[in-house]
Subunit: 309 residues, 2 copies
């Protein structure tokens, strides 16, 4: 099994790194939970604020993130502690009192700029976006309806109603995303909201009471009518729209008959290895457009080209 683990690790190293992963900040949990240490980090020279316009980043001339002194935070904003940079300086983001949050993905032109952002900055931005958005959408206690307030450097919100006192934590939603294989071909689908020609891996949220493997099998059956076996984990990715944990898998199908759920998918088809290759290479004769390189679906396709070659 050691050989397999090494082979798998080697495979992943041969592929482009997973976007939104590789945050270089030290989350420094011990700082969050110690008000005196947190205050010291905040007061120290070098502490800085991630500049956001709503939930979107501002871009430097080089296409990276922009930072400002902590004093630039809006009046009355909650400060969220993102972590310590390699020099030990505290990095923060602000949750402005008027920020409403959003569950919508970034606009296409913004996505293109994010696709070109340096990897470390993109990872910092993704984590910060999920956290700031969570605060903006959780100003009230789901248990009793009273106001909540930020705690532990922004990694908790606590109900201000002493009779309730519920503690709330940032949400992370596990989502399965899967390549289904039959006879050397891959099942890919398109949602109506996709750009023209784009096909990608099927995906869906993990529900209470099921394993990752069960969620994969259920989603593929629901959306495409295909039964799968031998579900296998491949990789994971944090996806900040608004706060998913993408769990990327591979599975096998014995019967290729497709029955599309048109409430979920516009189309679903089996693509040959040559067709997937053409799409990944962006060739004009490719029968479909591949997912962008920040999507874990593309990583899955690239993994498949190597692992199942």
């Amino acid at each position: 099994m050691t050989d397999t683990a090494t082979l798998t690790a080697g495979l992943h190293k041969a592929l482009p790194p997973i976007a939104y992963a590789g945050n270089p900040l030290d989350r420094a949990d011990a700082v969050r939970t110690d008000p005196a240490r947190l205050a010291a980090v905040q007061a120290a020279a070098g502490a800085r604020l991630l500049v956001l316009d709503g939930l979107s980043p501002e871009f430097s001339a080089e296409g990276g993130l922009v930072w400002a002194p902590l004093a630039a935070a809006p009046e009355g904003a909650d400060l969220v502690f993102l972590g310590l940079d390699p020099q030990g300086h505290g990095c923060f983001a602000a949750v402005a009192p008027a920020l409403g949050g959003s569950t919508a993905p970034a606009a296409p032109n913004l996505r293109a700029m994010l696709d070109a952002m340096p990897a470390a900055d993109l990872a910092i931005y993704g984590g910060a976006r999920s956290l700031v958005d969570w605060h903006a959408r959780h100003r009230f206690c789901a248990r009793c309806g009273h106001a909540t307030r930020a705690a532990k450097g922004g990694w908790q919100r606590s109900c201000a109603n002493a009779a309730c006192g519920a503690e709330h934590f940032p949400r992370v939603d596990p989502v399965t995303i899967m390549l289904v294989e039959h006879d050397g071909r891959l099942l890919l689908g398109r949602q109506p909201r996709f750009p023209a020609g784009r096909y990608s891996a099927l995906a869906g949220f993990v529900e209470p009471g099921e394993t990752v493997e069960e969620a994969v099998a259920r989603e593929v059956l629901e959306e495409a009518g295909v039964r799968v076996r031998d579900v296998r984990y491949v990789a994971s990715q944090p996806w900040p729209y608004p706060s998913s944990l993408m769990i990327a898998c591979h599975a096998l199908a014995d019967d290729p008959a497709i029955a599309i759920d048109h409430a979920e998918l516009e189309d679903a088809r089996w693509f040959t290895r040559a067709e997937v290759t053409a799409a990944l290479e962006g060739r004009p004769d490719a029968p479909f457009g591949a997912p962008t390189h920040t999507a874990v679906a593309r990583h899955l396709l690239e993994w498949w080209m190597v692992a199942r070659g």
Copy 2:
């Protein structure tokens, strides 16, 4: 790679099944989202209600779940659609108006009875418990503080304030749980709340902005001061206390020096294969008590005995 996938699948099949997995109900997503179909399922003969006392099950003489007619639901309760049984009968659970919910694990004597429950019933109970508890703790809108109401057969809550209209979905919290290996020994720890002598795998929540693999590395470093590499996914489990998705992993360490975070752990130690064997066999001379068989930590240990043998 096919051989590896087959081998891994074979390994899992050779182990006891994962507790709380294997729910035999069809979640029937298409029924949830179609009010007419849902009403028909609810009105049909054979529709039935899972009997709960708060969040705990009642036990039949055989130690299984107890079901009642839907009419037994408390006045004003929300009905949650659990799915269709193999005969096509709708199975439901009720969320009583007074139910407050809980984040606490089940009491030890209850846990012992659950440990002995038939696997299919335990899986149904786990999913139902997470869902009922989520409703009880999410009666208000986190975005605006107004009351929410159940929708889509209990798989959604919608804000009753038309100016807000936020939709809320059942929460699933991904948690990493990991066996760390160095020189043929395993790192296990004990939390103060564990029964005397018990050691188990380290674990922690995945945070926004990190991969599963990054969360594993961070948790082991935070709690035990050990750096890991080659993190590898092994299995997953739904854990309904209150609604975790346990993501079980294996990782390697090069340096066995331990630095315990006593805010998290009472102790952490390396155990040899012989010691783990003694614990799994429940031998009186075992140096520690193994996790109960419903815990994925035990599955991880059993997997390790076979996979790394």
